[in-house]
Symmetry: C2
Subunit: 347 residues, 2 copies
């Protein structure tokens, strides 16, 4: 299996390094060979090449079966969002050029960590849903985007075509079919035209999935229900910008951002990454939690058909949590008297 490694910025290199240790252990135990190729992306790529997603990195990704990605972002760019070259541009270009149109984020609340959730335990316990975010359309890529000549008016365009909507809804219907069979389509069809297209197409497709119950929810209501009734959801699907907001909102209710993996799927190559960011304050300190990246590697294994191997990785992570072999972010919630382990120890 050819795996592209894109560690990126901040804690990226450390956490991806630990996931590679885990993959190597899997290879040894189950008799697989993983070939890694490293590529630059984000701020480190700008520093080295001037380009946040160099052609060389794109080539490495295209020639791989899957990509394991760390995180991008550096504080030196955060306070200057209008800088000509920014790490985010690399991320967006990577998603678009690899055709990664479906971002899949499972949200599980670990029983043992329920006290870490900002929500009351009885509300959040048992929550287990998947957010599916469209990742290569909408306002992120719609044109025209820019300023009037005098600079005093700005505009963005949100565009969706039938083809874009159908392919992401197909992913969502199929996920729902494999799970509890409830699909929540989130939009703002009472106000915007692109949402009305989404809702129309979802209604057209629904009869092909008679076993799936489809539920339509306005995005403002969804933002409330995720907090009010997180256990209600099974599969939630939405467009790019709403997905950006709702997936992040969903992720914090678990109380353990450091445990959440994600997959971005498209035509051929798939990409796996932890949902937390580059956490620059922790970079180089050997304190970041590598579990979300390790669980992303588990998703990668499952994606290429190595179910047993993926399950073994998940089991190892759960065992480590149960035994209190965790980084500082998870210490309080587990056994008393335990101390924070380093990134490498947890890995």
């Amino acid at each position: 299996l050819n795996i592209a490694l894109l560690p990126g910025d901040g804690i990226g290199p450390e956490i991806v390094g630990e996931a590679v240790k885990v993959l190597d252990a899997v290879g040894k135990k189950y008799g697989h060979t993983f070939n890694y190729k490293k590529g630059l992306v984000g701020a480190c790529a700008i520093d080295a090449t001037g380009d946040p997603y160099p052609a060389e990195t794109h080539k490495i990704c295209r020639e791989s079966d899957a990509v394991l990605f760390g995180a991008i972002g550096d504080p030196k760019y955060d306070n200057d969002p209008s800088a000509k070259v920014r790490p985010e541009q690399g991320l967006l270009r990577m998603r678009k050029s690899l055709g990664l149109f479906a971002n899949v984020r499972p949200l599980v609340v670990f029983d043992s960590l329920v006290e870490r959730s900002p929500l009351k335990a009885e509300r959040v316990k048992g929550a287990d849903f998947v957010c599916i975010r469209e990742l290569t359309g909408g306002m992120y890529f719609g044109r025209p985007q820019g300023r009037s000549e005098d600079g005093n008016t700005a505009y963005d365009t949100c565009v969706y075509s039938r083809e874009e909507v159908e392919r992401i809804l197909k992913v969502a219907f199929e996920q729902a079919r494999k799970r509890r069979k409830l699909l929540t389509v989130v939009d703002k069809a009472n106000v915007i035209a692109t949402s009305r297209l989404w809702r129309q197409i979802a209604k057209e497709m629904a009869p092909q999935y008679p076993d799936v119950q489809v539920d339509y929810m306005f995005v403002d209501n969804a933002a409330m229900q995720i907090i009010q009734r997180p256990t209600y959801f099974d599969v939630l699907v939405t467009e790019n910008l709403f997905g950006d907001i709702l997936t992040d909102e969903s992720s914090v209710i678990s109380g353990s951002l450091g445990l959440l993996p994600s997959a971005s799927l498209g035509s051929d190559v798939a990409l796996f990454e932890p949902i937390h960011g580059s956490y620059p304050q922790a970079a180089g300190k050997n304190i970041a939690n590598p579990m979300a990246t390790i669980l992303s590697a588990a998703m990668l294994l499952e994606h290429v058909g190595l179910q047993q191997e993926g399950a073994a990785v998940r089991a190892a992570v759960e065992k480590a949590i149960a035994q209190g072999v965790v980084t500082e972010d998870l210490v309080d919630a587990s056994m008393p008297g335990q101390t924070a382990r380093s990134t490498t120890e947890v890995g």
Copy 2:
């Protein structure tokens, strides 16, 4: 004082009726005369006139000093968001034609109700912030909006002009100045052009308010922080669609939707309304909580300079809560053995 009453749909007429009782009591006690004029808006206006915001209603609003609004929305329109005439259109037209560009929503967590919040008590206790949402621009009103000729592509436009951004930021800076002096400007400046204009203008204006600390936050991060650290915020300002999502998210963390008022401010006339919706299931049953509407009336009084009168209304609401004179939605949280009171009793 000339007050336009727009009860709207669902529980609207009941809750506005109770607020009028309160206003009349204020008038009697403090020697004011309030002249009311009623107008139709929403589903009831469509039923009566075919138009969700009839010209007659607009005239009544224009000739008033302030508008007290209930809610709009009827289930018969909810499942058909592409119906030609919809209650929401009336709402949007009303906002636009009255120039109500600033939606102001104070979010207070009552200590005695902290157990009703979906958030853990220690997280949410003491949260006290104001969301300011731009209400007449962005994707809600941007054109072009629609479909390609073959119907297979849909598009929306988000537009903001300097003038629109400046006037709403001015409201926000001034609010912050009256409060804890922390203004959080929420945008997605790392991806969209309208957000970059917002951020640029906020940075230009900040030196005029040296006493206000300005904080820039991406909308996805804000969706997380509202849950993680609700006590952090003082004044939060954002564009129309982000505001739709974030104000609703914020409102549920209080655990008492039935207590949250709002104001929509513009050039001359101002509008006041509870943030909960038309709650059609409760319509006509005399069970809906009128307190959010009564507190909206308090905001109305304060807006026209009747500070003492507004404070008296607030004090009365707090006393009613403390004494357990509450509708069923608030019963559990207050004293044991108490029973739910009706809308009219609470009024």
